[in-house]
């Protein structure tokens, strides 16, 4: 399927321009068409795209691109900058009322992920800000919605306030706030029922809750996969309720998430959090520049780096690097390295963050078999200490034993040993190169997997 990023799109245009020596205004126009298509493909609303392209065109024609030696790169840079600007700064702060409890209302369409997000937000408030939130089950319409929140409350070990599904949500909110005051909860999270923005009766109910509860925050929860309609939904909720923030959910999917841009530009309210999974800790702050990369299909290096920093012990990495340089890298070291990579999360997700990864043929549809890594680990763990340090002593008999011990086969053991040897050879070559070229050493600390997990 032709979901190519902006970089790919511009490449073909660039090839036409290359060799021309100078870029004309017509060329810029053509590039802008590609920008437009890339954004539309990412589900950014067409009106927003139009505005955006106009702005970028002005900057582009205004010298920046025309005079540049690498106009393609320059266009991408300008586009990304403008995108990032448009999505605003990082604002993942949550209001604190000076007269507790602080009240947060969660609103949105059906199935956007309000209840799950409510649970995640409560978890974040406790973990990061040391608060004691009270969850309020005000979705009396969808069957078992209350039960869902109660289950989440149990998982989090947090109180959930509910009056069943026969009491009006307005009354539930009222009593919940009284209860929160009584029990000294500093936050009240009201999970409201999903509703269409054009449903006057139900929107009226939200307004009533708002008037009564006087919330400090009203978060609109939006599915990141939302298409062109995102602007209508967001604008309408904002007009009727006055939103203070947006939470974008299901970003762990493979949507480009252009809705983020649309919503931001029609509501002018900050996107505060993004949902990245079904687990209760999968709520993160919104980073505009990362979102810009994603919308443009450019990978997400920053998140990748962050993950690496979080999970890889720097000292260990340095030590490892030294071992690689001196070619004293053993299978034990390799095992450790493997563990660190795995700590960063599922491999296929990591790969997706790499820029250009979507260009590698078949990578999109590739299924990375995490089991194979487990096999590799098992094989190494079935070796003796001696064998791990000097793999050359592993004879046919030992191979058989290792295969048996790890529940794999001799060919698998063979493959691993061969690949490990190849890797060591490569390291030697690299160190050779480094010594010639000096420096440059730091960059190569990385994760050379001595096997191909993509078979």
């Amino acid at each position: 399927m032709a979901f190519e990023g902006l970089a790919d799109r511009l490449q073909s245009t660039m090839q036409k321009i290359r060799g021309k020596g100078k870029v004309s205004e017509a060329d810029v126009k053509e590039m802008m068409r590609e920008v437009r298509l890339a954004l539309l493909e990412a589900d950014v609303n067409f009106k927003v795209v139009k505005e955006f392209v106009k702005k970028v065109s002005e900057r582009a024609v205004g010298q920046e691109v025309l005079k540049s030696l690498t106009p393609g790169q320059q266009v991408i840079k300008v586009v990304k900058e403008e995108l990032t600007n448009l999505m605003g700064g990082e604002e993942s702060k949550i209001a604190v009322s000076n007269r507790p409890p602080t009240v947060i209302m969660m609103v949105g369409l059906q199935g956007a992920g309000k209840t799950t997000t409510t649970g995640k937000l409560a978890n974040l408030l406790r973990k990061k800000y040391n608060r004691t939130p009270l969850l309020v089950a005000a979705d009396i319409y969808r069957p078992a919605a209350i039960k869902q929140l109660e289950t989440l409350g149990k998982q989090l070990d947090m109180p959930v306030f509910s009056l069943g599904d026969q009491v009006s949500p307005v009354e539930i909110a009222k009593q919940a706030i009284a209860k929160a005051k009584e029990d000294h909860h500093d936050y009240v999270l009201i999970d409201t029922a999903g509703r269409l923005h054009v449903d006057e009766a139900l929107m009226g109910e939200l307004k009533e809750i708002k008037e009564l509860a006087n919330p400090n925050e009203i978060f609109l929860v939006v599915d990141a996969m939302t298409g062109q309609d995102a602007v209508n939904v967001a604008a309408s909720f904002n007009e009727q309720l006055g939103l203070t923030g947006v939470v974008l959910t299901k970003l762990d999917g493979d949507t480009r998430g252009g809705a983020a841009l649309s919503i931001r530009s029609v509501t002018n309210t900050p996107i505060k959090f993004i949902g990245l999974g079904e687990k209760l800790d999968a709520l993160e702050s919104f980073h505009p520049e990362r979102m810009a990369s994603r919308i443009l299909g450019m990978g997400d290096v920053l998140t990748l780096i962050e993950k690496a920093q979080e999970n890889v012990d720097e000292e260990k990495a340095r030590e490892m690097e030294k071992k690689m340089r001196t070619a004293s890298f053993t299978l034990d070291d390799f095992l450790e390295q493997l563990g660190q990579v795995r700590n960063m999360g599922p491999l296929d997700e990591l790969l997706k963050m790499m820029p250009g990864a979507n260009k590698i043929k078949g990578l999109n549809n590739m299924q990375i078999d995490e089991k194979q890594i487990t096999h590799v680990e098992a094989i190494i763990q079935s070796m003796t200490k001696e064998e791990k340090i000097h793999p050359e002593i592993i004879t046919a008999g030992r191979r058989k034993r290792i295969a048996k011990g790890s529940g794999t086969s001799v060919p698998e053991v063979n493959r691993l040993l061969k690949q490990f040897e190849d890797m060591k050879k490569m390291m030697k070559q690299m160190t050779g190169m480094q010594q010639k070229g000096k420096k440059k050493g730091k960059k190569k600390g990385g994760f050379n997997l001595p096997f191909n997990p993509f078979q």
Binding site: A2, D43, H197, D229, N232, D252
Partner: protein
């Protein structure tokens, strides 16, 4: 001209009530969509690049898949050249005709479900999170129950908090049995149980719920394949339908959803939900065009009987109603 008349005549023969429901549900959709086409035609004196660019935008705004729009525009350009059309008003007819062509696909295509005359029919529901699988199952169970069929539901979403309870509430509401295990149990095992229970209770129809899953989660898609395999093994030729539930508000990603779920479970039809909002659900056009999967039902509201069989002509009529009426005046 005659094309619209034919369409209208065909529609009027059908029950008015259903058509009304479609029209109601699609009012917002129609207003903005054909309104914009009309507006476009009125504003342009010449059929030129700008005209096509704007038309492209209108289609994109309806969430019609990107590739499909590009294809459609190319075809239109060719057609305009061939017929030497200068007047935008003439293009209008061609646009609608092309759209209907895609929607209708093969002539004899029906939205009817593959229900067995004898023995058990198994329907498997799949889709991403929050599209309305469980609600749709509830509505469909109600529909079958009204038709006098014996229905059993399988609570295959063992993952999301409260999902089993949600299906149980629907079961009570509709008055059908729900086969379940505890939260967190293996969905394939639930299916096995449900098939056995449906068989021993002599049920006509078993509807299987599954947990919502994003299509890029390889392991979860594998789990779904397993669920399907279990059903296949226990009932010959089952599942008789694999229905992918799509949220009408979803954008381009719906196409990837359809493609991936089709690969994993051989999806036989689509249920398009939440069409009562302002979303256009135009992506079904692309899915039809690129993957050949037909839409079987549309969800037009939250009530038990708000699930309608999809009728391509009615859908198109809903989209183009004011175009049709306008032509009649002329």
């Amino acid at each position: 001209m005659s094309f619209f008349k034919k369409l209208k005549e065909k529609i009027t023969k059908q029950t008015d009530a259903v058509t009304e429901k479609f029209k109601d549900g699609l009012t917002k959709t129609r207003d903005s969509f054909s309104g914009r086409v009309n507006d476009l035609v009125a504003r342009y004196r010449k059929v030129d690049e700008d005209f096509f660019e704007e038309l492209e935008e209108i289609l994109i705004q309806a969430d019609v898949g990107f590739e499909t729009v590009m294809e459609l525009i190319e075809e239109l350009k060719m057609e305009v050249k061939r017929q030497n059309i200068q007047d935008p008003a003439e293009v209008q007819g061609v646009i609608s005709e092309k759209l209907v062509e895609i929607y209708q696909g093969g002539e004899d295509e029906t939205s009817r479900l593959n229900i067995q005359a004898e023995g058990l029919t198994v329907l498997l529901f799949v889709g991403v999170n929050g599209v309305g699988k469980t609600t749709t199952i509830g509505k469909l169970a109600h529909k079958f129950k009204v038709e006098g069929k014996k229905v059993v539901l399988a609570a295959g979403d063992t993952f999301r908090a409260g999902a089993i309870e949600q299906l149980e509430v629907w079961g009570e509401r509709v008055g059908v049995d729900v086969i379940k295990q505890g939260a967190g149990s293996d969905p394939a095992a639930v299916m096995f149980d449900a098939v056995q229970a449906a068989k021993s209770r002599n049920a006509d129809i078993l509807i299987c719920d599954t947990a919502g899953r994003l299509q890029n989660k390889v392991n979860l898609m594998k789990e779904l394949e397993k669920v399907k395999r279990v059903i296949e093994r226990e009932v010959p030729n089952a599942p008789h339908e694999v229905l992918l539930v799509l949220d009408a508000t979803t954008g381009q990603n719906a196409l990837i959803q359809a493609k991936t779920f089709k690969e994993a479970t051989n999806v036989s039809g689509i249920v398009l939900t939440k069409l009562d909002g302002t979303a256009k659900g135009g992506i079904v056009l692309a899915i039809r065009n690129e993957l050949g999967i037909p839409v079987k039902f549309v969800g037009l509201g939250e009530k038990m009987d708000d699930l309608q069989e999809f009728d391509a002509e009615q859908y198109v009529y809903g989209l183009f109603a004011d175009l049709v009426e306008k032509e009649e005046i002329e």
